[in-house]
Structure formats: structure tokens, C-alpha cells
């Protein structure tokens, strides 16, 4: 029997990036907000102590900061013809847990998607005709790049993103990304100082007529005080970003940008190690009355609230909607329903160049310290004669030279023994790697739903992921890999190895924690779970914020747009919903 707690104005599920941003904005608006986070509280000095934060075994191998399958697992399969099985360990992607969420362990690549990405169906249909999109379930976002510009700007200034603008108010800027949408002002900080490998990559790319630029980074190039008054320090390029919390207050995360201010507010409360079981609906099924959750001791509570915000990781937002009966579940056989629709991922490939006699010093690194080429990303190039849509950013971002997992050796090297040791010694400092991060476009058969067989420790069905790389995306990725081969050959190294993306997604090796879709935004309640304000079409006092709202994924890391969507949703709530609670868009 759940104990009923006093009502709050707002209950937030998940205190990561988006939960923190919305909590800050809505407490500023005077609302009484409680955030319920299933993982632990974490604090920089205590939990990312500089004396043990760089523990590769603990954090990178044993994944100490991540969700463990015992707490929540999921089942996976490549197609509806298969029976999904639960994974024993998270592999292909690593959902975060705890205060700060996945924004604690990220690398810090902070992008804006291209303007064309937000109106992708309209744009591609207009340029290439409807036929080109057959087999794909591409949709518009319902919100434009121009509408989101100020939200992107606010997130970048919150974080202290280090980069170089490529397009200021329509004027292309030397040294930035010429393909990006217009931004109103420069990045808050200049780019990070480049290391050797990205410098070589930029030279090679430039020699082929491409347009390399410094990757916009949430690892800070200098000291910074953000608009909330919170100070951050310069990144020391220690090479412990991805899978780690930052010990130096120099990687933007909720801890380093918002929580010091948020936690002081008397109208905010965080309850950690409390897991939301479901969103409770009123008898009419059209209004959420709050949430039920269980604390670390197993006691259950009902938290009534006027507004319920789902700010968990994208996959878990979708699962909570399915478990709570919010929105019609998607059915791939009919193509109807919305919750679970358009699950997408990221289509990646890699290139390695092995040298002799170089000093790459890979241990001088940061998660987003590198160079990117966007000439083959999104629709920045003509797909007229090609047999696919979409594209990939090509990134040379040597994130680390960590001793356990960074052991590049050429193919054919024995996996152990003296020959392996010799090759390890030879190539640790003589390897340059870069990769493509490709778009992932929706198909009818890739989706999320509740598993019919497997349940979690509370008896709730696990989430089932049905996914394989679409043929379009494989063609795209392989075409981009050909371009990567051309760049790699330009280095004049001893050996070039290009790893291509193939059909048959496996949940085992790490690929990307960029899971998108499942509760997508749009203009039609038949094909989207939330409207352009991220408000549930069916239960208007529920907003769902995160990458689950992306109708499809672009060839870029999702955190920038996720942060922008959080500000966009906060504005919608503050400026529209609170004045007139109800549906912000009539279907």
C-alpha cells in the first residue's frame, strides 16, 4: 500500500541533464518541484575524487557509474521474426544512473543538428522526391531550428561550450563548421588547444578540399562562470571523460553547471535512490495525478503532482509511458500507435592509420578534444546520384590513451603473448584513429515495446528493443567509409584499416549510447507521442523530454539538442502551459 505524500506542483522523473534544467526553470517560476532519481546522489569531490576518479578498471571496465542490469535490464532482437532475450550486461549502450544521469559520464560533444534535420521529411522530399524515402519512416520534428536557436544558445552558455562558430547570423566564419545553421553569437569559450592527431587529421582533410573544424566541446578550454554564477575550470586533458565523472570541474554536467544553485532552492527537493514505478492516471485516463515510487528500503509512496515531467533516459521514458498507459503503443505490423515508434540509434564506422616513429601521445586527451568534418553529414552534400539519404560526421577525437582498453594493434596481430606485447609497445604511440558517426533513420520495423515474457524485480515487463541497421543507413555508412579511406590514405601511414558497419546489430560490443525515438515529437497525434512542446497528446499534464523525442537521429551526438529541447519545453510550460493548463496544441 503506497503512502500518499503531500501534493507538489511538479514531479520530475530523473535528475540528469533535462531534469536539472527543468527543475531550475520551474523553481524559478515559483513552482514547488520534487525530482525522483533512482540512482544515488553524487558530488564531485566525494564521488569523482581526483585521487581515484581515473580508475579505469572501476569505471570503464566495471562500469561503476552505469545502470546495472540487476536494477533494470532489457530484451533485444533484430527483427519481429526473432524472440528477444534479456541481455546479461549492458554493452552496445550504457545508460547512466544517479544524479547527473548519462550527462555525468559523457564525452562532451555538443552539437546543434542542421536546420534541415528538423524538417527532414519536408526537406528531403522537396530535394529528392518522395520515392527516395521509401522504406523509411522519416518525419519532421514540428519545431524548427530557428525556433530552437535560443534554446541551443542557452544550453551552450550554461555549459561553457568551447568551439568556433561557423555561421554567425548567416555569415560563414573561417575556422568553424560552414554547414551549421546560423547562430546568434559565438561559443562562450574558444576551441580547446589541439593535440597532434587531430591536427594531422585536419591537415589531411583540408588537403582533400574538406572543411575540418574544432569539435564543439563541453570540456572547457578555459575558466568560465556560467549565467547561474557557477564557476568551472580549464580542462587538463587527462583523458578520463567517457565513462568517468570529471574530478576537475571542467566537464559540463548537471553537477558542474546547475545543481549547486538548484540544491539551495527551498522550493526544490531531490529524492535519490527512489525508483518511479508508474505514472498514476486519474479515472478518466486523461490526466496524470502523480507518480508512485519505491525507495531504497522498498517502501512505496504516491507523490501527487499537478504536472509530471518524464526526464529519465530516453529508453526509460518510453518504458514508463508504456507501463503507465500513456499514449497508444506502436504496432509495427499495422504501423499504428505512437509510443515506441521510430526508435533509432547511430550508424558508426571507424578508420585507423598505423605509423612508425610518431609520438601521438594519446594520453593527452579529452572526450571532445578533436576535429570534425561535416562535409558528408546530413544533407550538406548532394545525394542526387546516391542510393541513400543521411550522412555522417567524421571525427578525429582521440578521447584517451588509457592503459587497459587503449591497445591499438594492426589486424593479424596475435591477441596475446610476446608478439602482442611487441605490437602494443610499437603502436600505442603510433596509431591515429578517426570515426564516422552516422545518422540513423527510422523504419517501420525498428521500435520499442514491452517484453511479453521477461519482468523486472517489481514484476513489470522489461523494455524490448527491436532494431537492426536499416539498408539505407548501411549504404550511407559504407559510402562515408569510402571517403574515410581516402582521408586515411592521405596521411601516408604504414597501414590503413577501415572498419565498416554491417547488418546485424549486436547488443554486446559498445557502439554508442545515443538511443533516440520511441516518444517522438511531431504535428500529428497519429504519428507522434508528444506535440511540438513535448507535451503528451493524450495526457496533457505529462511532458516527455529527451532524445526519445527525436523522430530520427542525425549524424551527431544528441546531447546538444537534448539540452535545447529541455529549455524549449521549459519555455512552453512557463510561458504557455502555466497560464492556461491544458493542451497546447489541438489535434
Amino acid at each position: 500500500m503506497a503512502r500518499k505524500l503531500p501534493r507538489k506542483d511538479v514531479v520530475i522523473v530523473g535528475l540528469g541533464w533535462t531534469g536539472s534544467i527543468l527543475a531550475h526553470e520551474l523553481t524559478d517560476a515559483g513552482l514547488d518541484v520534487v525530482a525522483i532519481e533512482r540512482g544515488p546522489w553524487r558530488d564531485t569531490a566525494t564521488d569523482f575524487n581526483v585521487a581515484y576518479a581515473p580508475d579505469e578498471l572501476r569505471y570503464a571496465v566495471r562500469k561503476d557509474l552505469f545502470l546495472q542490469p540487476a536494477q533494470e535490464a532489457m530484451t533485444m532482437r533484430n527483427s519481429t521474426a526473432q524472440t528477444a532475450l534479456p541481455m546479461r550486461d549492458y554493452g552496445s549502450f550504457l545508460p547512466g544512473t544517479g544524479v547527473g544521469g548519462a550527462g555525468t559520464h559523457w564525452n562532451g560533444h555538443t552539437w546543434r543538428f542542421f536546420p534541415s534535420d528538423f524538417a527532414l521529411k519536408t526537406h528531403l522530399t522537396g530535394r529528392y522526391g518522395e520515392e527516395r524515402l521509401s522504406g523509411l519512416q522519416i518525419q519532421d520534428w514540428g519545431v524548427s531550428y530557428d525556433e530552437l536557436e535560443s534554446a541551443f544558445d542557452r544550453f551552450e552558455y550554461l555549459c561553457g561550450i568551447s568551439g568556433k562558430a561557423g555561421n554567425l547570423n548567416g555569415t560563414i566564419q573561417q575556422g568553424g563548421n560552414p554547414f551549421e545553421g546560423p547562430r546568434k553569437r559565438e561559443y562562450p569559450l574558444p576551441p580547446m588547444q589541439m593535440t597532434y592527431a587531430p591536427t594531422l587529421f585536419a591537415e589531411a582533410a583540408r588537403s582533400r578540399g574538406l572543411h575540418p573544424f574544432p569539435t564543439p566541446s563541453a570540456n572547457l578550454s578555459g575558466a568560465y562562470v556560467n549565467p547561474l554564477g557557477i564557476a568551472m575550470g580549464q580542462c587538463t586533458a587527462c583523458g578520463f571523460c567517457e565513462r568517468f565523472g570529471c574530478a576537475n570541474y571542467s566537464k559540463a554536467s548537471a553537477h558542474t553547471t546547475i545543481l549547486p544553485v538548484l540544491m539551495r532552492k527551498s522550493n526544490f527537493e531531490a529524492r535519490t535512490e527512489c525508483e518511479v514505478l508508474k505514472i498514476k492516471l486519474a479515472a478518466d485516463g486523461k490526466t496524470a495525478s502523480g507518480v508512485t515510487y519505491t525507495d531504497v528500503n522498498g517502501a512505496t509512496f504516491e507523490q501527487p503532482a499537478d504536472l509530471v515531467l518524464l526526464n529519465a533516459y530516453s529508453l526509460f521514458n518510453v518504458r514508463l509511458m508504456l507501463l503507465s498507459g500513456i499514449g497508444k503503443p506502436y504496432d509495427p505490423s499495422s504501423g499504428e500507435g505512437v509510443v515506441g515508434r521510430n526508435y533509432c540509434y547511430q550508424t558508426n564506422a571507424s578508420a585507423q592509420v598505423f605509423f612508425e616513429g610518431r609520438s601521438m601521445n594519446p594520453f593527452i586527451a579529452a572526450g571532445a578534444l578533436g576535429q570534425t568534418v561535416d562535409d558528408y553529414n546530413g544533407d550538406s552534400f548532394d545525394h542526387g546520384a546516391l542510393n541513400f539519404v543521411g550522412g555522417a560526421g567524421i571525427n578525429c577525437i582521440p578521447t584517451n590513451g588509457r592503459p587497459i582498453q587503449y591497445r591499438p594493434v594492426p589486424p593479424g596481430t596475435p591477441r596475446w603473448g610476446s608478439a602482442w606485447k611487441k605490437a602494443t609497445k610499437q603502436y600505442y604511440n603510433n596509431t591515429l584513429a578517426f570515426s564516422s558517426q552516422g545518422s540513423s533513420y527510422a523504419t517501420r520495423g525498428n521500435y520499442l515495446d514491452l517484453d511479453p515474457t521477461y519482468k523486472d524485480r517489481f514484476g513489470r515487463p522489461l523494455l524490448r528493443v527491436t532494431f537492426d541497421f536499416p539498408d539505407n543507413d548501411i549504404r550511407m555508412s559504407n559510402w562515408v567509409s569510402d571517403r574515410m579511406k581516402e582521408i586515411a590514405d592521405a596521411f601516408g601511414g604504414k597501414q590503413v584499416v577501415v572498419g565498416r558497419q554491417q547488418k546485424g546489430w549486436s547488443s554486446v560490443p559498445y557502439q554508442s549510447t545515443h538511443n533516440t525515438g520511441g516518444a517522438i515529437m511531431g504535428t500529428d497525434p497519429k504519428t507522434s507521442a508528444v506535440n511540438r512542446h513535448l507535451q503528451s497528446w493524450d495526457v496533457p499534464n505529462v511532458f516527455v523530454v529527451g532524445a526519445c523525442a527525436f523522430p530520427q537521429n542525425a549524424g551527431k551526438n544528441p546531447t546538444g539538442p537534448v539540452g535545447a529541447l529541455a529549455y524549449w519545453a521549459a519555455d512552453s510550460i512557463r510561458n504557455h502551459y502555466l497560464k492556461n493548463p491544458g493542451k497546447l496544441v489541438e489535434a
Binding site: D43, N49, V50, A51, G229, Y249, P260, V261, R264
Partner: protein, 406 residues
């Protein structure tokens, strides 16, 4: 009819009363509230997370533990049965109701200099604080210190109550600063070194003290050990926001800033800065730094570069509002390294104020640096980048480690 006239009469009296008395009382209560902030009464008399002024957490003195009293107006357990004279006497003479002697952990030697008007305002305020029933056994000292009458002798030796007298040769701002520092703000309680009886050492005003295993640095204008390199604006910024271009407060000073100085008005902060800039330090010349080639220095440098430089920077400059500057810092050059050892062993969280909300923290290194490591790295820090101070010994680290785990 008669009733109506009576009511009208009452109403008139009420209006007169409001204008003639209540607004004056409001002003006095408000001034008293501000004086309670200046004097930081809550620092001792409010337990962390507890009801305001209902009694504090035990103070560990060199003589034993004292628990700050409940000073709410609860008649049974607080000061509800006290008269103004009792209150004034306690503050200004160290003798409470019924002649009960206070221990000077209650800084009555400082409060004795307060103006009677300020004490009266404080009294007006404390009568309006929410009464809380909370019995506090203040005296937890061991024999013989538990004998309150011993304070008679202590007072004879160390205490000559005297209200503050402004120096006519100095400007009003200086005098206001002197009054605040010596009186309500009782800076010397922590920052002036103490003799064997726990009283201020004469002639060493604000030259750095040790209290509850923290070293409160030298606040004089001494350019090496004190605030000589800080401008008046630096001092104001530190007290108002918890940090300035050099330093970030932590430990008990972070508390003092959070509960007291960050809430002061700017004129009072400037007055304190003006006065402190004029407090003379020792005439002794700054010591020579230990040679960089000494084994402790080379070992310390290696540890510093490995463990400290990511934040405090290899040149000891730190980063504004985030990581304190170690080069030429008063707390680093002080003779007593207690605070330095302590923050390395235990870590420390900086003050957070609305103006500087970051609250960055020093992580703990006590679990993986040995006594010798801590001693070496601090010896290096205390003798690099313009710093010069006596070496830290492994024995000092060991002693504090033991004291902190008690």
C-alpha cells in the same frame, strides 16, 4: 452607544500605540537581528539543522567540551526568565543569571566592548525569537575546569571589561571597523593566538590562531603571513561572497561567511577592510624558503604535480572562484600548518553564497597519502612560488590524523 465610544477610544489608543511605540520596537528588533548577524550568535547557538538559537553543537576546547546554551526565550530551558540586566551582564561581564560564571568560549571579552544600545537591541530581538524547549548541559568540562568559579581567577588575569572607545584621530569608517572586529564580530576569538589559559596573547592581535583543529590565519597587514597583499576590495569580496581573486573560504570561516558576513551591509564590510588594512603585523622579516633541493621538497613536488596541480596549477595560482591560490597565501605561510594538513587529510567544501554558488570542494587525500607524503607535499607548497614557512613534519600529520578521528 457607550460601547461604541469605548471601542473608538481603544482604536485611537491603538493607533497612537502603533505610531509611538511599535514602530520603534520594530526598528529595535530589526537592529537587534542585524546585531545577531554581526555577532554570528547562530554559529555557536544553533545546532546544524536545529531550531534557531536553541543550543548548539559541542565546542571542543583545549580544556574539554562546552555546549552552547539555549538562548531562545523559553522560560524553563532558555533565557525566558532572564531580565535585560541578566542578559547584558552575561554578554558584557561573563556573569549570567544568578551569578553563574560563563566560560570565555562565549566571547564575552569581545562583547564587553559592545555599545549598550546594541546590546539592548539584541535583547529586543532575542525576546521575539521562537521559544524552544531544549535543555542544554553546557558544562561538560572535566574537573577541575568544570568549576565555574575558576573563571573568577581567569577574569582577574585576562579580562578587563571596557566599552569600545573610538579613536578621534581616525576616520569614522576606521572606528566602525575597529568596533566590529573587536566587538560583535569577535574576529580575535579565532584569529588571535591564545596563551596557556586560553586568553589572547598580548601584542599578537589577529596574528593567527588555532581553534578546534583549524588554523585561523593571520589577518594583519603583514605581507607574508597576513593580508598585506589583499586590497580592501579583496577583503570585502571575501567576506561578502566567500571568495576573491586569491582565496575561497572553507572550514569554520565558510560557516561564518554563510551565516554572518555575507549578510552584512556593504558599509560595515568596507569598514572592517579599512581597519584590517591598518592592523600592524609582526616586524619580523619573512623567513627564507627551504631549498628546492631538499629531499622533502623534491618528494613534495612530485606529489604536488601528480595530485594537486590539476586544480591548483603547477605554479600554485589556482583558478578564481574555484581553486584557491596557494602562492603567497596567508594560510599557507602561517606558522601553524593545521588547516593545510586538515584539508589534505579530510577535504573541505568551500563556502556557497548567492553571489558565488559553486561550492567547489577539495577532495580527501587522507586515505591514500601517508603522513610523510602529506608532510612533504605541504612542505613543498609552503616553500614554493614565493612562499616560505617552517616544514611540516610527519609527526604533525600523524597527530592531527589521530585528533580528527577521535
Amino acid at each position: 452607544m457607550k460601547k461604541a465610544a469605548l471601542l473608538a477610544g481603544l482604536a485611537a489608543a491603538a493607533i497612537v500605540g502603533t505610531n509611538g511605540f511599535a514602530s520603534d520596537l520594530f526598528d529595535r528588533i530589526d537592529a537587534g537581528r542585524y546585531n545577531a548577524v554581526l555577532a554570528d550568535c547562530a554559529a555557536c547557538h544553533t545546532r546544524p539543522g536545529g531550531k534557531p538559537f536553541a543550543g548548539g553543537a559541542p565546542l571542543q576546547t583545549p580544556f574539554g567540551a562546552l555546549v552552547p546554551a539555549n538562548i531562545t526565550p523559553d522560560p524553563e530551558t532558555g533565557i525566558g526568565s532572564w531580565s535585560y540586566a541578566d542578559f547584558r551582564n552575561a554578554l558584557k561581564t561573563g556573569i549570567g543569571k544568578d551569578g553563574k560564571r560563563l566560560y570565555p568560549a562565549m566571547p564575552y571579552p569581545a562583547y564587553a566592548t559592545m555599545a549598550d544600545a546594541d546590546v539592548a537591541d539584541l535583547w529586543a530581538y532575542f525576546q521575539k525569537v521562537e521559544p524552544v524547549s531544549n535543555r542544554v548541559v553546557s558544562n561538560q568540562l572535566p574537573f577541575p575546569f568544570s568549576i565555574r568559579a575558576a573563571m573568577i581567577g581567569w577574569n582577574l588575569l585576562n579580562f578587563s571589561p571596557k566599552e569600545f572607545q573610538p579613536d578621534p584621530a581616525k576616520p569614522a569608517e576606521w572606528n566602525r571597523g575597529a568596533y566590529l572586529v573587536n566587538g560583535p564580530a569577535h574576529c580575535g576569538t579565532c584569529h588571535t593566538p591564545k596563551n596557556l589559559t586560553g586568553a589572547d596573547k598580548s601584542g599578537e592581535f589577529l596574528r593567527g590562531g588555532n581553534l578546534q583543529n583549524w588554523y585561523a590565519p593571520n589577518l594583519t597587514s603583514d605581507p607574508h603571513k597576513g593580508l598585506g597583499n589583499w586590497s580592501g576590495d579583496d577583503i570585502v569580496a571575501y567576506l561578502k561572497t566567500g571568495s576573491n581573486r586569491f582565496d575561497i573560504a572553507s572550514g569554520p570561516m565558510a560557516e561564518a561567511i554563510r551565516h554572518s558576513t555575507s549578510l552584512w551591509n556593504d558599509a560595515d564590510l568596507k569598514a572592517v577592510a579599512t581597519y584590517l588594512k591598518d592592523v600592524k603585523g609582526s616586524d619580523a622579516a619573512a623567513p627564507q624558503p627551504i631549498a628546492a633541493t631538499e629531499p622533502a621538497m623534491t618528494a613534495g613536488k612530485a606529489i604536488y604535480l601528480d595530485r594537486c596541480s590539476a586544480c591548483h596549477v603547477s605554479t600554485g595560482t589556482g583558478e578564481a572562484s574555484l581553486f584557491p591560490t596557494l602562492a603567497k597565501a596567508p594560510v599557507v605561510n602561517g606558522t601553524d600548518p593545521t588547516s593545510l594538513i586538515r584539508v589534505v587529510l579530510q577535504g573541505s567544501q568551500a563556502a556557497g553564497t548567492p553571489a558565488k554558488p559553486t561550492t567547489p570542494a577539495m577532495p580527501s587525500f587522507g586515505w591514500n597519502l601517508s603522513d610523510a607524503d602529506v608532510a612533504n607535499v605541504l612542505t613543498y607548497v609552503r616553500n614554493s612560488w614565493g612562499n616560505a614557512a617552517p616544514p611540516v613534519t610527519a609527526g604533525q600529520v600523524k597527530d592531527l590524523r589521530v585528533a580528527l578521528t577521535r
